[in-house]
């Protein structure tokens, strides 16, 4: 988890780090005075302690979790009776709205909503990069402009529309909405990546008589895998972590996702912090896993200048 190269400069900006400074970098001496070290240390603590407290609480006995501060466990951390896994069991499987079901729902929402837009956007990005046609530039400007448009603008009419055709509360309603909302970002990331591919490869494919369709499948898609991965991670995290769209189109019924469930748990008094904290970690498990293991692609996507509204 700690081995992330967060500081890869973008290829277009050759700078200090890019100019062969790497070999000595590993042996770099600390240039930090005590002030810097302490500041950074304190900042790290502030960043970690809230999450850490939540994690500790999720493993505490219900009575203790709601009666005393979580830091009290460190008075006797080895006392086994104060730890329990029961909270996770309870939050996942029991109660009126078990988190386990929401977890499956979240997967059922996020996976299709991530995969479906990719191909549609890839074809569009190809046309924006390698084809010439009337209206192309205007169309792409519209895509760039739409990047910053908040998806609230579409919610009221879509809710009406889904209501009319009876799609409210179903997964396809959310898949389609996220596919539409994610389209500008997908096209933008993929097109920017494709525009940086060596044109000579595509030219030679054309000379060899390959059609656009063949060039797309045999050359461009394999070469664009890093960008496809970047977008996939962005979109997956975006959809999994989304509250507003899920709340409006799926609501709190059988199909409710983890974010809606967790938000709902806060309102109910008497849930107890041990369940709330365990529920929070259930909802965070997958994004954290995806994020930590695929951070490289995530950062590449971020540094490509994508801004999502």
């Amino acid at each position: 988890m700690t081995d992330v190269s967060l500081d890869k400069p973008t290829p277009s900006t050759p700078g200090r780090a890019a100019r062969g400074k790497a070999p000595q970098e590993g042996a770099r001496q600390s240039r930090a005075g005590w002030f810097v070290k302490i500041t950074m240390g304190v900042l790290c603590l502030i960043w970690l302690i809230p999450t850490f407290g939540l994690l500790v609480t999720s493993f505490r006995q219900p009575d203790a979790a709601n009666a005393t501060g979580w830091w009290n466990v460190f008075a006797s951390p080895l006392k086994a009776t104060q730890w329990t896994l029961q909270n996770y069991h309870d939050v996942l499987f029991s109660g009126q709205t078990p988190m386990g079901i929401s977890f499956v729902n979240s997967l059922a929402v996020a996976l299709p909503a991530t995969i479906i837009p990719i191909m549609i956007a890839a074809f569009a990005a190809y046309s924006f990069t390698f084809m010439h046609y009337k209206g192309r530039d205007i169309l792409f400007i519209v895509v760039v402009g739409l990047l910053v448009v908040p998806n609230q603008v579409a919610l009221v009419p879509l809710l009406r529309f889904y209501g009319d055709i009876g799609l409210t509360g179903t997964f396809p309603a959310v898949w389609l909405a996220h596919t539409g909302f994610g389209m500008p970002l997908a096209i933008f990331i993929l097109r920017n990546y494709m525009a940086a591919l060596p044109l000579s490869v595509i030219e030679s494919a054309k000379i060899d008589g390959a059609s656009h369709f063949q060039t797309f499948w045999r050359l461009i898609v394999p070469m664009s895998v890093p960008a496809l991965a970047s977008f996939a991670i962005f979109q997956f995290l975006w959809v999994w972590n989304d509250l507003l769209v899920a709340l409006i189109f799926l609501g709190q019924g059988d199909n409710m996702v983890v974010t809606v469930n967790l938000a709902g748990m806060q309102g109910q008094q008497g849930q107890g912090w041990q369940l709330l904290t365990a529920g929070a970690f259930v909802s965070m498990a997958i994004p954290l896993l995806v994020f930590v293991s695929l951070q490289r692609y995530f950062i590449r996507g971020m540094t490509s200048g994508a801004v999502k509204g």
Partner: protein, 327 residues
Amino acid sequence: MLKVINALLAILGGVLGSLLLFYVMNKVAERLPRKWEERVKPYVFVGPAVVLIGFFLIYPAIRTIVFSFANRTSTEFIGISNYTDLLSSGGFVSGALLNTLLWMIVVPALTVVFGLAVAVLADRLQLRAEKLTKSIIFLPMAISMVGAATIWRFVYETRPAGTPQIGVLNAILGKFGIDPVAWLQLSQAHVNSLLLMVIMIWAQVGFSMVLLSAAVKGVPEDTIEAGRIDGASEKRIFFNIVVPQIWPTVITVFITVLIMVMKVFDIVYVMTGGNFNTDVIGMRFWTELFTNGNSGYAAAIVVMLMIAIVPVMVYQVRNFRRQETQR
């Protein structure tokens, strides 16, 4: 179980379906006379994306504008009274609007400052310490706003005076003999709103740090050397040499966070539901649409949000055009 199968079917159907769509459309295009084929093909490639964007973003946006001039159930046009009602109601202007403005002033600026500070200071640590620090600061990016709000609610938790505090903040106050404070209800001087902003800053500094760190490391060494030779202090080097060169990145980060803040909803919804004078535009949109069942107000709020975002959009497009000419 059924849901998992459904989801898998959706993935399969979605992928194969769109594949088939493109394949068939492509085949049809190839059947056309040569001249037409070249003309039609680009639209085959771009068509489905355009249809999706049109149907799920542009057309609904236009309908939202129309709804904003109609009554609460969108059955009758009532002119601009949704706007005038909202803008003349103190609850909206001095509540949601003012608070959103406060978010816009505080959060993007602090996110940039913190991100830049971490980027620059961590750069001075040993390599391993730098990576660890950055990973810790970056991690909240993965967490949903609902998750982040839960985490911080626990920090702000208040128990009656005299009983043990389980929230960190009040426990610290207790150590100094100060009575517990009901943080989320403390609207004096917008303290509760500021505490909600802390969550957003906590979540977004990682993003700011990564982008700014890449930019700082991209500053050519010789420009810094030149400053050193001229005898400039570290401070001057930073503000007069480094900052101007990373300014475009600063703007990018600022704008990204600004947009996020303008439409913030999750944090407020989970923490206070907009009560105790913490209402924001994104929250108010929800309240009007669902609690009050007034589509007209909800649409008008979104339109105002859209108008506020137009300058950002123009900037974004201009910026993009400039980059394209440099390509």
